[in-house]
């Protein structure tokens, strides 16, 4: 077990190193000159060269990479050329917003998907099952940006239930109106997750309910409810955990569009803004942060698997 964990940790470090290298190269090999962005297109070549020197952009690319990596490992992601805000403070401001969105949406998603899957799996091909399976299949073809446009049209413009784009209020300023503005984007994000969790859990449960140990439990006279929650749901929780891990990783990125549309200043909003301003360090920092979060999350979930099911470690 310890050896397995060590091996996985080494792989994690390796992957993180490659990811950091990938991001650095990506940002640096792409066209776009930061000196033009900072000084404007009409400045002299001399001023440009001075600035390049100041920013350390005239050093060989490998030196630049290791300087950057060294700083990153010390928790210093650099300072934006444009806003003069440190990238870490940008992240500290933006990430809690994404976290809030994801937590609310996942609570809603699991709260809807699990009972619905259980109810559907009780009678496969029953009315509820057919309706929910068909609906969820259709929902797969509804990307969040379509849902959000119509959600805004219906709930903000017509019925004024939720505030429209651009009405974000920080949680610390007013928790109630903050939650009020976050409900709509969270629900939109939740829909996609409900579909994934429901489809997965329903299929899993139907298979599990045909197993012998369920027949055994039934013949012992255990109640259906007890069998469902204690016997059937348990093995399925593994695959649900896996799906949740993959899905949450995707949500960090998926939340970007929803944030951008509703002008919620989360990571996606910050990233698109810094891309538009050719703000190298901010783009690098945010991308690296998201990648690290996703990689570490997957690592933790892999690890949880080996705890729940020790056979995996022995492979």
């Amino acid at each position: 077990m310890a050896k397995f964990l060590l091996k996985r940790l080494l792989a994690l470090v390796g992957i993180l190193f490659l990811v950091s290298l990938g991001i650095f190269m990506l940002v640096h090999l792409l066209p776009g000159d930061p000196t033009t962005t900072i000084l404007g297109p009409n400045d002299t070549a001399h001023n440009r060269a001075v600035l390049m020197q100041q920013l350390g952009l005239n050093k060989p690319i490998w030196t630049q990479y290791f300087l950057w990596l060294g700083n990153v490992l010390h928790g210093n992601l650099g300072q934006s050329f444009i806003t003069h805000q440190t990238v870490t403070s940008t992240l500290a401001n933006a990430f809690p917003i994404d976290l809030e969105l994801i937590v609310i949406s996942q609570i809603v998603a699991l709260g809807v998907a699990i009972p619905l899957a259980i109810a559907s799996a009780k009678k496969p091909n029953g009315l509820l099952d057919r309706v929910s399976t068909t609906t969820s299949f259709a929902m797969l073809a509804l990307p969040p940006f379509i849902i959000i446009v119509f959600a805004v049209l219906i709930f903000s413009i017509h019925f004024h239930v939720f505030p429209g784009p651009g009405s974000y209020v920080p949680f610390t300023q007013n928790p109630i109106s903050n939650l009020h503005t976050m409900i709509l984007p969270s629900l939109v994000l939740a829909i996609g997750s409900v579909v994934i969790y429901f489809r997965l859990l329903r299929g899993d449960l139907i298979t599990t309910l045909q197993e012998e140990f369920i027949v055994m439990a039934r013949s012992k006279g255990l109640s259906n409810r007890y069998i469902m929650w204690r016997h059937a749901l348990r093995p399925s929780s593994l695959s649900l955990l896996a799906a949740a891990g993959l899905n949450i990783g995707g949500l960090v990125a998926g939340a970007f569009v929803v944030e951008f549309l509703l002008a919620i200043p989360g990571l996606g909003y910050a990233l698109v803004n810094s891309i538009q301003q050719v703000d190298y360090l901010a783009v690098q920092g945010i991308t690296l942060f998201v990648a690290v979060v996703v990689v570490v999350l997957n690592f933790i979930i892999d690890f949880l698997f080996t705890i729940v099911d020790p056979r995996i470690a022995r492979e």
Binding site: V149, A242, L246, I275, T287
Partner: protein, 294 residues
Amino acid sequence: MSSTTDAAPTSESLAGTPAAPKEKSALGKIFWISIIWIGLVFLLAIVASWIGLDDPNNGNFALINSSPSWSHPFGTDDLGRDILSRVIYGARVSLIVGFGAMAIGMGLGGTLGMIAAYRRGAVDTLVSAASYVMLAFPALVAVIAIVAFWGHDIWKITIIVGIASTPLVYRVVRAATLSYATREFVTAAKAQGATDTRILTRELLPNVLPTIISYFLIGVATVIILEGALAFLGLSVPAPTASWGNMINESRTYLSDNPWLALFPSMAMFLFLIALNLVGDVLRQSFDVQESKL
């Protein structure tokens, strides 16, 4: 990692339940309707310039944000452009980006996946490791960054998204090939002195092809959604070119005045995506791809 991929999100499907024979024929009907619909979208996108549609990029300023009428069945947008015409021309972008990117992904990832699964050894280890690193990257973030810096014309978007899809395609094709690479018919072909190229193209490819086709269609659907997401960040094909994503994005400003502007491109995208998913799903079911081997 292998344990997490077992739970592919779309593992269950419409046809997943043990269905009565009667229902199977109903599903077949929907399957064929989907195929016809996909074909129709293709046809319209190809012949768009010759079927007497209004100019998709130049509108009639006297008639802006109008509701559907006989001369403009889907209404007009904020610049007086015919929405029907823009929806049909917009299909070109979704089709080129969707099918183009997946063709690139399949060409690169599929070839590498087959070779890695057939050869194993160092090639497999190296390419598989690279694919894990690429998968660790949140694809949307990477695509946004590259598109933003490199430029967003339709071909660049296609290439970038195509390359971004490569690691996922690689894993799927590799897994599918692995289950055949050690089978007797491959050994037999080797014993008869068949070249590697021949084994890959004549023995393995026909077996892996069903998997490739069904994942291809579902991949196309994913890429079309990605194009939409890029459009919302202002990173899809530049204006005034119509794309479904661009149109839905532009509609946001006029939502209360002109909901038609949002409705028709959304419907077009939704119906096309659902048709792709359905056909992909039915194909996958009928060829019985074992997801547990991924």
